[in-house]
Each structure stands twice: as C-alpha cells, then as structure tokens.
C-alpha cells in the first residue's frame, strides 16, 4: 500500500456514521452467507467427487419443502431488516432540521456555484461551519448534475428546471472533495470542488473577509423593483396581486380549492409559470418571467420575499422560523 492511499473515506458528518453502520451490517451478513455457502460447496466437492467414470449421484428422498421455505424466509427476514433500516436512514437524510442554514447550489457545465445565506458567493469552493446543519437548495442551469461529498455520505441529483434539496451537519473540520457524480458532458471529471469545514469563529472571519457581495436580500430588493414586481405585489399599490409580506412559509389557498405551502419551489414556479397556481381571489394576469430571469436572480428574489415581514408585525418574533415544517 502506497502512503496516502486510504481504504475508507473520512467520516465527517452526522449522516456518515449512520450510513457506515448500516453498510457494515449488510457487509457482515453478506460475508457470513458467502462463507457458509462457499464452505458447503467445497465440502461437497471433496466429499462427493466422482470416483469412477460411470458413477451417478444418489437420489435424495424425503420432503424438501421445509428446506425450500427455510432458505426463502430467512433471507427475506434479513433483507427486510436491511430495507427498514435503510429507509430510516434515507428518510432522515431527506428531512433537513428546522434550524438548518439555507445555502443555494447551482450546477452548470462544468462548475459548482454556491451562495451563502448572507449572499456571499463561491465557485468550486465551499466554506461551512462545523456542527451546524446546512440545507442545500440546488438547481442546474443546463443538464442533470449530481452534488456529492463522500466525506459526508451526501449525494443528490441537481436537476434543470426544479429544485432538489439535501442537508448535512459536518462534524469534523477539514477539507473534503466535492464531486459531480452524474455524467454531464465532456469535462464531467473536472466538475470537482473542495468543501472547507471551519470552526464557527473561523467561518465568521472568512465571511467578513474578502469582497462582500452586498447580500442577496438587498440585491433581491433591487430586482423586485427592476422587474416591476412591486407595481402589483405591494400593499401600497392598488393590490392587483397577492401581498407577499409574511407569506413565505405559510399555507396559501388557491383558486381551485387546493392549498399549497409557499416555499422556494412555489415562489419559483409562480415567477416562471404564474398561471399554474392562482391564489384565491385573484385573476391570472401576471406575465411569465421565463427566459427573462436567471436561476440566481430567482434565488435573490426568493431571499427577498422570505425576508418580508408581515405588515404591522415587523417586531413580532413569529416570523423567525423559516420554511421547513419539520416535526422534531
């Protein structure tokens, strides 16, 4: 073994040790089964080797049904353990905790762009604080990519035209690989980056250092004016459209009787395809902003809308909880 040739990846997130434990369980059961079968076969090969050319096997008498049932039901039980355990890990990996910080990730041929909650942006580098849950809302600007951090056992497809989410809580400081795991064209293998897990104070230091991006909320506010959203969507207008103050994270009643959670995907859909889900009491008069707005601009608008406090309750603490409606 050459130096610096690991046999096992770093274990650096809360999910990693859970995935590993499940993996070791299945490997253990598999090895046990394989050894038993191979040993049985070898024993039979020796014991029942052909001793003269004309020899044939001896017939087995008796009821073999019980044997057949036994070696169907025992493996069934084992794979069911694997199934339920695996599903539990999977469900946990797909539900970000309520206190997770929200980051946005954009994949494009062939780079990763990351936007921090404060609006700071990075390309192919990603700084995060240790022991802090981080939620990633991801989309692609072209083809399907896949955001993967082996040290966190984290992996999620990044799709064009919609959001996917993933989350992690890093447990060890250090620098780890980011890979694109979905074949995405010629330079697929160059779509790699590094994720740097920092102590909280180092993260804060890193945040204030370097060029500041001015903040997504502020940029979003400028866009809100530039795209003329404010002519309809503000309480000081003649209110031809729903007032957005305090809407984010709440349920909204639609004209067709359904209700929908006003989350990132809903806001994005309403910008790109406004007629899909009309709010009760309003007319479908909004034009689409498809092809007029980039994915990054959409996120800036979402940040801005997320930040809008309910009218007249600016000081109330109720607005603190973000979208994630997870039961703890």
């Amino acid at each position: 073994m050459l130096p610096n040739s690991p046999v096992f990846p770093p274990v650096s997130s809360t999910l990693a040790s859970k995935v590993d434990l499940l993996f070791f369980f299945t490997v253990g059961v598999s090895v046990l089964f394989s050894v038993l079968i191979v040993a049985t076969i070898v024993a039979f090969l020796v014991k029942y080797r052909r001793r003269h050319a004309a020899e044939t096997g001896q017939e087995i008498k008796g009821n073999t049904l019980i044997l057949e049932l036994a070696w169907s039901i025992i493996p069934l039980g084992l794979v069911m353990i694997s199934f339920f355990w695996g599903a539990a890990v999977f469900f946990e990996s797909s539900r970000p905790p309520a206190d997770a910080w929200s980051f946005h990730v954009y994949g494009k041929q062939w780079m990763w762009k990351v936007e921090h909650p404060e609006g700071k942006r990075e390309i192919n580098e990603f700084h995060v604080p240790v022991n802090q849950a981080v939620k990633l809302t991801m989309t692609s600007e072209d083809v399907i990519h896949n955001f993967s951090v082996p040290a966190f056992r984290l992996k999620m497809d990044v799709l064009p035209g919609r959001y996917t989410t993933a989350w992690f809580k890093a447990t060890k400081t250090g620098t780890y690989h980011i890979f694109c795991d979905q074949y995405c064209g010629v330079d697929h293998s160059k779509m790699v980056g590094k994720i740097h897990v920092l102590e909280p104070q180092d993260y804060q230091k890193w945040l204030v250092g370097g060029a500041s991006a001015g903040g997504a909320v502020a940029t979003g506010g400028e866009l809100f004016v530039a795209k003329a959203c404010n002519t309809c969507h503000r309480s000081d207008s003649s209110a031809r459209a729903p007032i957005l103050d305090g809407v984010f994270g709440k349920s909204v009643s639609l004209a067709d009787g359904r209700t929908v959670l006003a989350d990132e995907s809903y806001v994005r859909e309403s910008i790109l395809s406004p007629a899909s889900k009309i709010v009760q009491g309003y007319q479908p008069i909004m034009p689409t902003f498809k092809d007029q707005i980039s994915e990054e601009e959409i996120v800036q608008l979402i940040r801005y809308i997320q930040d809008l406090k309910p009218a007249g309750a600016a000081a109330a603490p109720a607005a603190a909880a973000p979208a994630a409606g997870g039961k703890s």
Binding site: S5, L22, F23, T56, T64, S148, K155, H177
Partner: protein, 546 residues
C-alpha cells in the same frame, strides 16, 4: 446414466456439411447455423468492446488524463458499454446457445418461425455496422443507456444514428422472444410436459417474456427522442420544456428488466451444468423454474431503484426499495438449490463445471452487493460511484460471461463435433476467475471511497486501487484470449466428439455431434423427467427409436 451414443450419424451428413458455400449459410433457415452466425458476430464485438475496456483501464492507471482527451475517453466508455450490452451480452446466450439448443432440447426440428429467425439476424448485424462506423468518427458521444438525453446537444446527428440502430435492433430482440415462446408452447416432443422441460428452457421462456414486454418501451422512448431532436417537441429536454427525469423513468423501465435478459439465460445454463457434472437430479426443480418467472415479473416493478436520488419522492423510493429486496429471494433460492444439487452427487471438475463454480462465486458477490444497493441508506451514498460499476460488472460480466463460457464449453462438442484441450481450458477458466476478481473487487473499495464513475481524471489518493484494477484487467484479457486460441485449434485438431461426451442427460445428448440437419434421426419421445440421473435404470431408453 446416459443412454449410449445414438445410432451412428457420425461421419455422415450433419448440419455443417449438408450444404456448402457462403449463400447456404447467409440464407439458411437452420436454427443451428443461425446460432453459429450469431456466435461469429458477437465474438467480433466482444473483442472490440474488450479492446476499449483495455484502453479505459490503461488511461485510469494514472490519475491524470494523459493518454486520451476527455472527449475520446468519454467515447471509449460509451462505445464499450453499447457494444458489450447491446451487441454482446443481450444476444450472447439466447441468440447463440438458445438458438442452437432450444429446438433440440424440446425435440423439435427447428424454431416455430425459421424465416423470422433469419430475418432478425439481418438488422442486428446491419446496425452493428452502423454503430462501429460511427465510433471512430468521434460523432458517437451519446449513450442511451447512460441517461443523458439532455447532455449532448453539441452534435445532435450522432444520437439519431444510434437511436435508429437500437430501434431496429429492438425488433430483433422482440422477434427472438416471440419465436422462443411459440416454439416452447407448440413444438415440444411427445411426452415432454412443461415440468419435464430442462431449466435452460424455462430460463429462456422467462427471458422471452421480458424481451416482448420490455423492448417496445425503449422503442417508444427512442421515437420520442427522435421527435424531440428533429421537431423540437419538448419531451425530455428542459430547453423545450421537457423533463429529463422522464427519460430516466422510461429508460430504466426497459433497462432494468434488460439486466435480467442478460442474467436469466446464464442461470439456465447453470442449472444444466450443475446437474450434468454432479450427475444428479436438480434440487428444487419447481422452485428454480418459477423463480425465473418471478424474477421476470418483479423485474418490471423495480426500475425506480436507479433513481433514489433523482428527485423522486421519498415514498416512491421506499416502495421501489421494498420491491427490489424481493428480487433477492428468487436469486438466493437458485443459489441454494444449485448448492443442494451437489449434495450426494458424483461431482467432476471438468471445464464447464469450473465455470459454473466461478459463476456461483461472482454471483454471490454481485447479488449481495445488489441488496446493499437496494438498501436506501446505502444507495444514497454509493450511487453513481465505482461501487455500482463493480456491482453490475459482477452480475453482467462476471456472472453472465461465466455462464456463457461455461455453456459454450459444455456444448462445444455438440456444436462443432470436436473436443477442445482440457488442460488449457481449465487454466483459462481459473485465469479468468482470478483476473475478473482482481479487476473488479478493488472497484468496490474505490466506490466506497467515493470515486465517481465516468471520471477521466481522479484524485491521486485513488491511484493504488486503480492500478490494481488495471493489472487485473490485463490478466482478464489474457484469460479471454486463451479460449479463442484453443477453441479455434480444436476445430482442426481436436478429437472427434462422441454424441454424449459428458454422460449428460437431455435430448441434445441423444443425437449425434454435430446434429443432423433435422436434429434427430427419428423424432424423440420423452418418458421421464429432466435430469433423471439417479433413476435412469428403469427409463433407460429416453428417446431415440421409440
């Protein structure tokens, strides 16, 4: 015990020397000759696909992309996959051994539709020409089985060429399945009831069902891709308002069952080998037969396990994971039954049996890692890494090729009328087993370390395992070359094969080697179950001359 060799046809006319000339081969309706034509065709493509694998492993011996450009590398693994899957693995056992043996095993003169059988050969070879011609031009970057209908808009032309090729070839697959099903239903010899059929036949019956039901779906998908490319109708491409995930659904709805098109026939071969070389009735005949059908049916309900992290809902993920777990049971049942067949047998370790044992070894690893991949909590980590690459090579390459080579060695004397060199064939079976495991086992470790698949360049810390894998590929390459040499050698210098060189049961061993044009001197009548080795004394005259 087998009946003594059939009445002498040896030395007389057989299907090989009955007629002469290229035309008599290319226009033949004899299922045996068509099987030989397939053997020639797929062997050429196996060598080509293998050469590409060698180049891929050579590139991956170093972390830098120093041998080829990324563009060329991507084309290499794409063509390697297309050639090996569509041109070698899918047609391998059914089109070569199935075509040759299925009618003989059920005591028929030919398949139900001999002209159809020839007709399906034409598109298959034709589109092979297409695809290979395209490859060196470098236009062939798109790979349908790799799920990126959206990636490759840079040079749209090549996608259409591949699509047409695979679309036309799909008919070949459907027609083979149809022909086998009708033949098995309608042309069995007198006395050959369903539960007297060799398990090879049951496996091909299950495979044929998948081919008929699954292949139209990939044909529809290809038509949609074509419509999108030519007329810009938004189906899969987000640029036109389509959904690339829909392509994944449709693609895997065919391609997951297609995995069973590759492995079920190999399992059928396994049952023949294990019984013949332990001279014993197969243990759990009904369980093995129905497990094939169960795999064929449930195989249609698990495609979503390729898409756990493609944004499908967590509930859908859980359901697909559950159904995937069920596939493990019939697969395990087969392994247990083969093992139990050895019990109290008379076991001989001749070459085909070595391949059969090798099959069990690699299938254990391939199958059990399949259970790991079906487990949601593990899949979300190892998805799209070398863990997957290792897993499907263990199943599709390790197991399916072990089955194919085992079958080829078992029936080679029947097909050609010649015996091959026993010593060299045993050596090659062992070399292939060692080479295969050295190549692909390190890839499980690479996968768990996180190395993504389809990477032209990779971080330096992965190099040790990659070097080991490339070294294994060299061994494996030599292992695969050896049969080419000694099998060709046997055609000229091999000893003449008797009708039943292994003392095996089955109608194919009751006729001469090679068989006459119409397969049997007199139509056989079956009076006993398959693999009746132990009870053969009372029912000795199985077939000939009744």
């Amino acid at each position: 015990m087998s009946a003594p060799a059939s009445p002498a046809e040896t030395g007389g006319t057989n299907y090989l020397n009955a007629t002469h000339g290229i035309g008599s081969w290319l226009l033949t309706r004899d299922h045996k000759r068509i099987g030989i034509l397939y053997l020639l065709g797929i062997s050429v493509f196996f060598v080509l696909g293998g050469l590409m694998a060698v180049l891929i492993r050579a590139e991956l011996a170093t972390p830098q992309g120093d041998l080829f450009s990324s563009d060329v590398y991507n084309r290499l693994f794409t063509m390697h996959g297309i050639l090996m899957i569509f041109f070698f693995l899918i047609p391998s056992i059914p089109a070569v051994l199935g075509n040759f043996l299925l009618p003989i095993m059920i005591g028929a003169k030919d398949l139900a539709f001999p002209r159809l059988n020839l007709a399906q050969l034409v598109p298959l070879h034709d589109r092979r020409g297409d695809d290979v011609r395209v490859a060196p031009d470098g236009r062939h970057r798109h790979r349908l089985d790799l799920l990126h209908s959206d990636v490759d808009e840079l040079r749209p032309g090549q996608v259409i060429v591949t699509a047409v090729g695979i679309f036309v070839a799909g008919f070949s697959s459907i027609l083979t399945g149809l022909n086998f099903i009708v033949t098995i239903h309608r042309m069995r010899a007198p006395g050959l009831t369903w539960f007297r059929l060799p398990l090879f036949v049951w496996a091909h019956y299950a495979t044929s069902i998948i081919q008929i039901l699954g292949t139209p779906v990939i044909a529809i998908t290809i038509l949609l891709v074509g419509a999108e490319r030519l007329f810009h109708i938004g189906v899969f491409d987000p640029k036109y308002g389509g959904d690339p995930v829909l392509f994944q659904h449709l693609f895997w709805f065919y391609s997951h069952p297609a995995v069973y098109i590759m492995i079920l026939p190999a399992m059928g071969v396994m049952s023949e080998l294990v019984t013949a070389f332990s001279r014993k009735r197969v243990f759990g005949y009904h369980f093995i037969a129905f497990s094939s059908l169960f795999i064929a049916v449930i195989g249609f309900l698990v495609w979503g396990h390729h898409m756990f992290i493609s944004g499908q809902s967590v509930v859908a993920g859980a359901i697909f994971s559950f159904l995937t777990m069920l596939v493990a049971i019939p697969s395990a049942v087969k392994v247990f039954n083969w093992t139990a067949t050895l019990y109290k047998g008379s076991i001989s370790l001749q070459t085909p049996m070595l391949y059969a044992l090798g099959f069990i070894g690699v299938f254990l690893i391939g199958g059990l890692t399949g259970v790991m991949l079906g487990t949601l909590g593990i899949n979300i980590y190892v998805h799209d890494t070398y863990f997957i690459v290792a897993h499907f090579h263990y199943v599709m390459v390790g197991s399916a090729i072990m089955g194919y080579l085992g079958g080829l060695h078992f029936w080679w004397p029947k097909i050609t009328g010649r015996m091959y060199n026993e010593f060299w064939s045993k050596i090659s079976a062992i070399v292939i087993f060692i080479g295969f495991n050295t190549t692909f086992f390190p890839q499980f470790i690479l996968g768990y370390l996180g190395m993504p698949r389809r990477y032209h360049m990779y971080p330096a810390e992965f190099q040790t395992w990659n070097v080991l894998s490339s070294a294994g590929a060299t061994i494996l390459g030599f292992g695969y070359l050896m049969p080419v040499v000694y099998l060709l050698w046997s055609l000229k210098f091999g000893a003449k094969a008797p009708a039943n060189p292994w003392g095996a049961k089955g109608l194919e061993w009751e006729t001469s080697s090679p068989p006459p044009v119409l397969n049997f001197a007199t139509p056989p009548v079956v009076t006993e179950e398959a693999y009746a080795y132990e009870t053969s004394t009372p029912a000795k005259e199985v077939t000939v001359g009744v």
